[in-house]
Symmetry: D2
């Protein structure tokens, strides 16, 4: 019963097979091989327009390089207070940009509240050097709270950014989970709503290590080539990432694994709703679920082999958590089985 | 006939199999899984002392983080003029250190000449802030010229560094090739001669993506953990690197693949020595070989399917290269076959 | 009626005279001259212990270099939400540290609330690389809100910092104003309460350009020498800063100018309290004063020649500001005259 | 007999008087006061076109910010091996740019040899990320060797830079000394020969602290505003720099002080040429002079009160320096007197 994180899972068998199938033979290094190029084209098909694709090693790298591509002296990035770029990257975005600031914007359950964004941006006087200046907005889809921005939400935020000439970045470490939750297309969820740069994650959804920066303006690709290399993120045997994405996209595998993960979260949610021992903190929309239960109960479950984490209460979470209670996070993945979920369900009882 | 680079090869079948064998199941992310820990212990066995090991995505990252671990304001790193850290990393070491300088030291055929190092270091007046200050020495083993530092060479350079309180870094992107060339042990080639930090490369020698920073002073490990994460080099599914190293070290595979690559270079050298159309620029010691031939001949060979690169003439190379001639680099790997070499030999004739 | 900022004033006549008196003759450059050294000793006398002193060009430089001296990969500095290092330095602290983060801590009227600091620090798990790690606490004395930390306040904050091994930095751009407000000694207001690094400002209090980093642990001086030079903050004709500080400290001039500035703020406060047209937002403690008045009234005063700024309502300011009203900042200095204050008093009436 | 450096001199009486004259009264801070603006206009007059001017604290800052304004990921700046940006700024240019590299180009007596520049640039393959990429060329006028680039020399170097799309920076720490040596105009010595950014120094030529970045494309001014503030180089009481430049330019003072310094160097050169105890290493063109003499003689002179520095032999200096001899640098300034030079002349004899 591994609900600690979707990155505790291994690789989907089809991904593993794809890697093995591409292990032999010689091919041009540094992302210029035939398989690399085929995968770049595949990205353009999937996004229904020409895009520039840069494989990188980690989601943190994808985010940090995306923001570095927007860099300005004195620049400030606006993202949700609980965003991964703020909470979980050890200052990598600041480091990659040589000191840009991440400005925390509040909003309920992991989503930036447009009014707060407007207000935060409104405090900056154009051309005044003292306070620095806005340089980008970054949203996470799906969010750290397991929620999803609707297309309208994205459009609204991108509208605010665009009116100030700011690019919009999307951290899509769990892009596929959000995509299938919204039952929309990659194009609709990104550039059609004004997203300019995307961190496209495959690792959490069944790959071993497959992350990419996707630029919707391929004109920016030249700089990204230097940014990536300088950041030590250019794989020599790049084909091994290409091989993963090749398998990932084949026959819609990526959508299937995401649907499965989301379905497992929904199944877990149902079990929790049925239980007297725990309750949902809020409704999950993708593959992360948050529950409240007594600490003693959580410890009992953990001792019995269920792996999940304590969690900080996010901004805008106003359900009552009692003194003896805690908030806990459960993450499902392509590798989570219904049997596993049901076993957990049985443990927490009705 | 792929002699462009050892990173044009794919993965050794045993590495590929090791990856597949570890694809399933759940394990702790971020380098804390059981397989990761087993591999860390294996490194300590191989180096005959406790070492701290940090997997990273690229050799550039291993080098840049190693140097970042030595960082000082105004710091200067001394490496060979043709070292990868200077010539081929797009400024990553400078970027990772926030602006340390790489000072080029000359020496014949890829090896720092100790006298030049002594002279370069001697120009810095301790405590004077104007010129900056030495902070590390970095050597490459095997070198960019396909040569190898002998154990005495390393000891001599480390002695110079130590007398000034400077750590010695070794870029071991082709560590195994040098190791088998010298017929020595990992311990002898590193810390026993005074190496403090090592970029240990597995990628060029049969892995897909397996690079590590090895610290001979495990006390420095704490800072490296933060340095690596901040540089976006901490893999979530770290086990996939561990699985590669696990297979790499099993039954001496890594030594076998390196011996094979070196043997193929020697076989190629013999073919060139026998040929009237080309001549060795200098004797290869590991798996890189440099030859002089007429440009027209090189083009003919390339047109016939041989892949190899033009090369800049390195410092201290005083063989005569005629007006119509060029210098060319050939790299062999675990995947180079004798048949391939012989085919090339037949093409250049006797 | 110039109440815009204390840096709109020029130089005190004694400072100007001191500069002229030291204009001729030759002296060792880069801070090694006789006058420089005499001033360093004077600092040690004033602080009643050996200190290391580094002149720099701006208060922003003093703050940024102080924080750079505490730098750690993934490091986070805790300061008040409205602190100058966050609000007014265009990201210089982040830039100087290569990407450290400034974490905003709330507290009423410009002062960090120790409970909030404790809570903010408490969220960081030692040794976990993901969230980064605390590296320093920074307080401003006097604060951006014109308030002053009492000695106990400083001790409490330094206690929290020390228990976590964090150095405490004080931004003393208005050090003298706070000092005379508390009627204490430089030693009592700094190292005796646990301050480790101080930005000591003379510019706002009557100098032209006299700022210094003061290190209470002179053992850290060596690194600061390199940090300062690398940041292009080492004056060649350093004596011109020394000459200012020499005059500044002579016969207690600096305390006298600070007392005058504070007295002018108190006089202005009295005029505002007497007026029906404006009210004090809160009581001033040093030389900055905040008042609420109708916007139309503010415009009238500005049109009549009074110079002062609109201000953002700070955290913890819960006085009611009406729809037609604004919050305004008034700053006094050594150059503010009673006549000027009274003229303004007459304009706002009773 | 102070020949150590022109920054050992104090301030010219007219500069000191200008400062005092502007000490009183209130004026807008941060470079927006009336005097600041008048001085900006004066710069435009002097350079015969609109320029953007940014006062900074040090020559190192002017150089580093100029190069930061040209910054590119993986960028490389080409300057002379002995240039101040390489030899004497503790890595500030690398730091300000977040890791750009300074590539040393050789050339006789402090001047870049255009052929070497061409060759160095020619090694970079456009669009290849591995080696990084050229981003600027920087020359020093007058040079560290006391020589001067002729207008044709500058034009030739700028032509090479322009053909590759690179901006040309001039380090003019001793701008005036070169200007009067060439008997040309500021416009002719800069933008008319293709200089894009200039570090304009006043400190060494009679000011206390008056350095500026001058941009010949005022369109770049917006970014420089943020770059300067972020680098903690924006003076609050900026008028004090303006006041120095105001006096500096008045009635051609700056040209007069430079002519005097150069004349004193020529007088010193004549004394050395007449002496049997010393010989000129090469002919001085501005206010720095290099001489060879026996070490014992140098020590005798120093003991007798002459202050001058030992110097490294520069590239391209092929005069014979005997085993018992040394190379020594002498710098003259506005404050050097003929009497002082003659006294030294008497000491070295005929």
């Amino acid at each position: 019963m591994f609900f600690a994180s979707d990155n505790w899972a291994g690789a989907h068998p089809a991904i593993a097979a794809g890697l093995s199938a591409n292990a032999h033979g010689f091919s041009t290094a540094y992302g210029e091989g035939e398989l690399d190029k085929a995968v770049y084209r595949r990205f353009s098909e999937i996004f229904e327009r020409e895009v520039a694709v840069f494989f990188v090693a980690t989601g943190t790298a994808a985010n940090s390089l995306s923001l570095a591509a927007c860099n300005k002296p004195g620049g400030i990035v606006f993202s949700h207070r609980e965003a991964h770029v703020i909470e979980d990257e050890c200052g990598a975005p600041e480091y990659f940009t040589g000191g840009a600031r991440l400005h925390a914007v509040d909003g309920a359950l992991g989503r930036i509240d447009p009014k707060n964004l407007e207000r935060a941006l409104g405090r900056f006087v154009p051309e005044s050097v003292h306070a620095g200046r806005p340089m980008a907005v970054s949203i996470t889809q799906s969010t750290e709270a397991g929620t999803v921005y609707g297309l309208d939400d994205i459009a609204r935020i991108s509208g605010i950014a665009k009116r100030r000439g700011l690019p919009l970045h999307m951290d899509g470490a769990r892009f596929a989970n959000a995509l299938v939750a919204l039952e929309t297309t990659p194009a609709e969820m990104t550039w059609k709503q004004g997203v300019d740069l995307l961190s496209f994650g495959g690792t959490k959804n069944g790959c071993w290590c497959a992350e990419a920066v996707v630029l919707f303006d391929p004109g920016k690709a030249r700089e990204m080539g230097f940014l990536r290399k300088r950041a030590a993120q250019l794989f020599s045997k790049s084909r091994f990432v290409a091989a993963q994405f090749d398998a990932y996209f084949r026959d819609g595998l990526w959508l299937e694994t995401a649907r499965h993960a989301n379905a497992m979260a929904a199944r877990l949610a149902a079990a929790i709703e049925d239980s007297a021992a725990a309750r949902l903190a809020w409704l999950p929309q993708a593959n992360e679920l948050f529950a409240v239960m007594r600490k003693a109960e959580a410890e009992r479950l953990q001792a019995a082999g269920a792996v999940f984490y304590d969690w900080h209460e996010p901004h805008g979470f106003d359900s009552h958590v009692g003194k003896d209670e805690g908030l806990y996070r459960f993450v499902t993945s392509f590798a989570t089985t219904a049997e596993e979920v049901d076993r957990f369900g049985a443990m927490i009882g009705k």
